[in-house]
């Protein structure tokens, strides 16, 4: 294989991994605060159609991204209201959210099918670094959202581990009762984390329709929302591991086409992330590793204040 092919493949892996990374980071924050949101697929779909529509109508992909974020936020607000406000089950609410997002995006997007987006986001060339051989092309001539995702990952890591907010978020997901006695407003923290997660999922969807494949087709999220649920576990709820995991999964997404020519079924390859997630779950559930990398203790449980 020649260098150009490798560079192109790795580059495509990064592009495919970017939306996965964004949504994974959002879900990590929500799950760290104890709220599982299975509605990512729906939030991404709505984000995709909102992003595409606004980009198309306004001519500005940036406005499109903003609209995508808002779409994600508004869907996640429903989840926040139902699960935190009303303390209904997170699993069922998340699934309903996915259906809602898929349905609404299909409805809104009907008129957009087949219309190309003329104003994609341009890549940013980082001066100096972009001229480095090999890695210059891979890492430093990319779209702005790629950099945004990397920065967000670092930012979330800093927030989670180096700030008061982070301690509060993690406390709320581990032991909301103790957090409450220490003066943390559990519901408030959870609501913000869910909304933040929704924003990132929305942007992830917007990336699909504005950058990855500048167009709208129904069902263009293609199950990525569920891959994200897997990625959160696969990265053990850590934003930096999420970067590695997301681009790895992005690579698998890209490789299936390359490997198809070698006679390897893309479908069997695509099973890998899901099987790997079950294995990862098996590892996190075992008693030995539990202390270090297990799911937040209070994940999925509605918090009932006294």
């Amino acid at each position: 294989m020649d260098t150009a092919f490798v560079i192109a493949t790795i580059g495509r892996a990064f592009t495919a991994g970017t939306p996965l990374l964004l949504a994974t980071l959002g879900e990590i924050i929500a799950e760290r605060a104890g709220v599982m949101n299975l509605g990512i697929e729906g939030m991404m779909a709505l984000g995709a159609v909102a992003g595409f529509g606004v980009s198309l109508e306004s001519g500005s992909p940036w406005l499109g991204m903003l609209a995508a974020a808002l779409a994600g936020i508004s869907l996640s607000a429903i989840h926040a209201f139902v699960t935190i406000g009303m303390r209904a089950g997170q699993i069922v609410s998340g699934i309903a959210l996915t259906m809602f997002g898929l349905g609404l995006s299909a409805l809104i997007g009907k008129g957009y099918i087949g219309r190309p987006l003329q104003t994609p986001l341009h890549s940013i060339t980082i001066p100096g670094l972009a001229d480095l051989p090999f890695i210059g092309d891979i890492l430093f001539r990319r779209d702005p959202i790629f950099y945004f995702a990397i920065i967000i990952a670092a930012l979330i890591w800093i927030i989670l581990y180096k700030t008061r907010w982070g301690i509060a978020i993690r406390s709320v997901g581990e032991n909301p009762l103790a957090a409450e006695t220490m003066g943390v407003d559990v519901a408030w923290v959870r609501v913000w984390c869910v909304l933040f997660g929704g924003a990132l999922s929305g942007i992830a969807g917007g990336y699909l329709s504005i950058v990855y494949n500048p167009s709208w087709i129904e069902g263009m999220t293609a199950g990525r929302g569920w891959i994200v649920i897997a990625l959160v576990i696969f990265s053990f709820w850590n934003p930096l591991r999420a970067v590695v995991a997301a681009f790895l999964f992005g690579g698998i997404d890209v490789m299936q086409f390359s490997l198809q020519s070698l006679g390897i079924s893309p479908n069997l390859l695509r099973m890998f992330p899901y099987v790997a997630t079950i294995v990862a779950l098996l590892i996190t559930s075992s008693s030995i590793t539990r202390r270090h990398i297990s799911a937040p203790e209070a994940l999925g449980e509605p918090y009932q204040p006294r």
Binding site: K162, T163, R164, E174, A178, A179, T181, R291
Partner: protein, 542 residues
Amino acid sequence: MNRHVFDSLEMTGIRKSFPGVIANDDISFSIHSGEVVGLLGENGAGKSTLMNILYGLIQPDEGEIRLNQSPVNFASPRDARRHGIGMVHQHFMLIPTHTVAENIALSLDDAPFFDPVSVINDRLDVCSRAYGIHVDPKAFVWQLSAGERQRIEIVKALLGNARLLLLDEPTSVMTPDEINEFIGVLRAMTAAGIGIVFITHKLEEILSVASRITVLRKGRLAGTVRPASKDTNRSGDTAVHDGKNMETSSGHDEVDKAALARLMVGRELEQIIPGKSPPEDDILFEVENLTVMDDRGRTAVKNVGFTIRRGEILGVAGVSGNGQRELIESLAGMRSPESGTARLADRVLPLDAGARAIFESGVAHIPEERMRFGTVANMSIQENIILKAGHRAPFSRRGIISFSAAANRTTEIVNEYRVAATSIVAPMKNLSGGNIQKVIVGRELADHPALVLAAHPTYGVDIGAAEGIRSHLRECRDAGGAVFLVSEELEELFELADRIAVMESGRIVGIVDPRTSSFGEVGMMMAGAHIPGRAISSGDKP
């Protein structure tokens, strides 16, 4: 007010009632700067309610709190904390996956936004210099022992500028070494002018650290006393006093341990209802070398052995949390023991095989928390009656449940135990606490078990129902069964039991005959004092 000054705190005429219980009845309490005041009482005596009122968790019905002579009203714990009151709960409010520093930072109002743990080191240094408390800020809480966790809670309160500390049974989780170190810390804190309320039921300890002791009994003030001088105190270690020093009136009389024990457990019963004549000498149930872990993986029951004869009730006295719960759960098959054996009528009980195997061996279990374990609230009374025997005849045949058999059994029990229920298919949750307990006891005793494990069978049950339950346990004994009765009510144990084993720190520290023993003696053994001639581990003959 200035949170940094604490001079005195007084509570007068505090009264608080909950549905069905008067938790605090006209209680007065005071503490001054630099003082350790013990708050002593059995479980349910009202100590926790009083302290929760002081901490703003509960509002009193009547009474007044004065801080530094001016009346105050704490609407919430945050309010209390603002006034310099800190509380260390018995169940720690720490987040196990966080480091010590993160736990402390979360509770500090003034930690910086970025890198909040950075300030913790300096403050911990100050704390360690001032009071001699050492904690490792980088350690994860899950790695720490309970004693170390306790220390973190205290540090948290101190760094939050608490000037009056409420410690709820702080030593119950500590090793002896930790206790010694902790007493040093207490002295340093009082020297700095901090007031400390020390809630406990360990007599020895409270006598050595407190300057005054307020004793509560059944929601009322039993008295406020001063520890006796060292001489009297020492004699209390070795022998039981005959009650000359006992004082029940309020005032600041000097007391030794024996007197304090009597003050805590109440007036000695003059006439103890005699138990039956000593039972025949054949052993029905025998436990040997039983060691059991608690949920956190610590050894809760340490190499315990005892026997129960046919037709005997063995009572277990002890302060809660000394291994009684783990002991009874392991005997009931709910908690696999680390080691040890139990034999019922010469057959080894399969303690590892789950609760059903134990039940099949003829063991009944009246569990400690009846709503959590004993019943299924949303299912009918009839289904709760067959909760344990539903898998076998007559209640199920070839996998099909026989509701007529269940209904017959339920009707029998409802009639015999006078369960007040509208219908046998009404959901369990519609019953009152006493009636729920009747259903459980009825279910457990219905198959004439050879061994009954009863944990606090009359706890929180009205007097009439409690008396009924006791007489059913007696019937069980008289029918030749063995009864293992864990209770926190000494009166109940003295009334029912043929022998009383006392558990302390996971061991049986002695077995006494209620006809020749006294509340004071058992109370002292519960508090960890060794009494010569009483430290028998197993199988003693009364």
